[in-house]
Amino acid sequence: MSRTPTRLRAVLAYALLLAFTLVFIAPVLFMVVGSLKPDALVLAEAGSLRAFLPDSVNPDNYRAVFERVPFGAYLLSSLIVNGLIVGLGLLVNAFAGYALARLRWWGRGAMLALVLAVLVIPFEAIAIPLFYQLSWLGWRDDWLVQAIPFVANPLAIFLFYSFFLGLPRELEEAARVDGAGVLRTFFLIVLPNAKAAFASVAIVLFLFHWGMYLWPLLMTTSEGVRPLPLGIANFYTLPPLQWGDIMAFGVLMVLPVLILFVVFQRWFVRGVASTGVKG
């Protein structure tokens, strides 16, 4: 009796999920398929279902990407800048989150409120003042200047703060009684038990900045230090406008993000499951 409505509900639910999945995956599919098509067909078939069905696997667009622009240099810049942001960002934001969550100091509450307030300020609002400030210092056109302003990130601080609040305090107290100071407690006890938070923040920072366009555009002039988003923009100014090349560049640009996600995704789904603290 009750099986039919249950099954019907399941079918409807899956249909809805499938529809949403298609909506979200369509642009990605369009990009991947488009990257494998002769340039002329990319726009010609854009209005039909054929846009999502490759006729043949044609690597010409990929070859063109490497021939027309210094893709390797862009990729290297992006990896270095994002590596700096993620690497330094994990350290700085974890320290800040830990200080807010665990250490007792004057003005802690106000600082936490400030961090939360800064969350809602868009980068575009401070980009120009920051540009003038750094130009005045004569600091332009290198990898560091693209990374340093983004190392401290209020969202990352907040994520760490929330995670550290949830970590059993007794672990740190046990470490202190066992003879560890604040730094050793952080590095030897807190950090190894916060892998999930570190992975989440790493992905957040990486995703936020992998596609960063405005800041590198303002701060860089040399091709050698420009990241991938500026590289892809070249195709719009380098005649002829080849959509197949742009799609191929897009696919190559997305790959590192996908790899990162695949490597770290288990940390997303797995919290601190194995804890020595009961209750």
């Binding site: 202190r176 003879g179 209750g279």
Partner: protein, 381 residues
């Protein structure tokens, strides 16, 4: 090994005072139990000694040395936490070695001490395992091992058995007692479980609202509770408390308990207001029996409300003709209410629910308490 002294120690969190001012000395090699209900300040006291909290006022000394300005590391104490606080990412070996590594001990000495502790606690087969792979009892042993491995001056144990099941609790309790006696390390043990306190403690400090209500050997506390709080807190079921009527009769102050006027040879003290009787002091007889007219026995009529059969003994709860005093959470005045009297009966026998009975007890077994709930010495009688 060392003496531990708390001198006029006060601890407040903002406006809220947890410990209003406490003096306590724990002797070298002694196991002192801090016993009290949740929120009485016993864990705070432990944390003050560990250096995890700073006292608002007063002084703490370990082996005669003031330690208030020292961090936990410099105090050479070891602590066993309620939830064990084992490092989840380290193996048992890593957990045991951690305090030694933090003290910069060389590898060979570290290995020797770690193996010694592991051997003492039967942890050798578990050295390669992580805490998540261990049972509750094994985790508890690892926590103990981490405490003993660096041979501290003082052990602190914060309700270390409360996460174990009843059977394991008894076993580990005995192990902790044996280990402490063997090592002879001064130990402060916090619990709200009176059985742990009675069985483990060389001395027990019963705490309430940050104040030590009574400090003494377990048997002293049980036999001569200093006040109504201690009387009600120790013993299961707790001491029965009654509020009798007092009268001067035949030249002596007598108390009317049930149907009898009870008198003591030396007279009932003037200040006495409450009478306390331990459940095991009662004898349960058929209804209508009395103290045989003797004034050195009390006899209270009642009816059986329920009987708990515990195997070797039974606890009979009787609805009494007398109002029974109930302890409230706050300080006095104590509330008299229609309540139940508990009687502990050894051996077999049949008591039916609703059966009318007479509870009798020797007057000399009565504990007397004054208006404020403080005990009045009973050797008067």
């Amino acid at each position: 090994m060392a003496d531990v002294e708390f001198r006029a120690v006060r601890k407040a969190f903002g406006e809220h005072t947890v410990i209003p001012g406490l003096d306590l000395t724990v002797h070298d090699g002694e196991l002192l139990v801090l016993l009290g209900p949740s929120g009485c300040g016993k864990s705070t006291l432990l944390r003050l000694l560990a250096g995890l909290e700073q006292a608002t006022d007063g002084e703490i000394r370990i082996d005669g040395r003031p330690v208030d300005a020292l961090g936990p590391r410099a105090r050479n104490i070891a602590m066993v936490f309620q939830n064990y606080a084992l490092y989840p990412h380290l193996t048992v070996r890593g957990n045991l070695e951690f305090p030694l590594r933090m003290r910069g001990m060389g590898r060979a000495e570290r290995e020797r001490r770690m193996l010694e502790a592991a051997r003492a606690l039967g942890l050798e087969p578990l050295l390669g395992k992580r805490p998540a792979e261990l049972s509750g009892g094994q985790r508890q042993r690892v926590a103990m091992g981490r405490a003993i491995v660096r041979e501290p001056d003082v052990f602190l144990m914060d309700e270390p058995l409360s996460n174990l099941d009843a059977r394991l609790r008894v076993q580990i309790r005995a192990e902790i007692g044996a280990l402490q006696r063997r090592l002879g390390v001064t130990t402060l043990y916090v619990t709200h479980d009176q059985i742990e306190a009675m069985t483990l403690g060389d001395r027990v400090a019963v705490m309430r609202d940050g104040v030590i209500q009574q400090l003494g050997r377990p048997v002293e506390l049980y036999q001569r509770p200093a006040n109504l709080f201690v009387a009600g807190f120790l013993g299961n079921p707790p001491m029965n408390l009654l509020e009798p009527a007092f009268e001067w009769r035949d030249g002596a102050r007598q108390a009317r308990l049930g149907g009898t006027w009870v008198r003591l040879a030396g007279g009932i003290p003037d200040q006495a207001r409450f009478a306390g009787i331990r459940p095991e002091c009662f004898r349960v007889g058929a209804s209508g029996s009395s103290g045989d007219g003797r004034q050195d026995r009390l006899a209270i009529q009642g009816s059986v409300d329920s009987v708990e059969v515990l195997g070797h003994e039974r606890i009979a709860y009787c609805r009494a003709s007398e109002p029974v005093v109930e302890l409230t959470d706050g300080p006095g005045p104590w509330r008299s209410a229609e309540g139940l009297l508990a009687a502990r009966l050894i051996g077999s026998g049949v008591l039916e629910r609703g059966e009318s009975v007479t509870l009798t007890a020797p007057a000399a077994e009565i504990h007397w308490f004054d208006e404020d709930g403080n005990a009045i010495p009973t050797d008067l009688g």
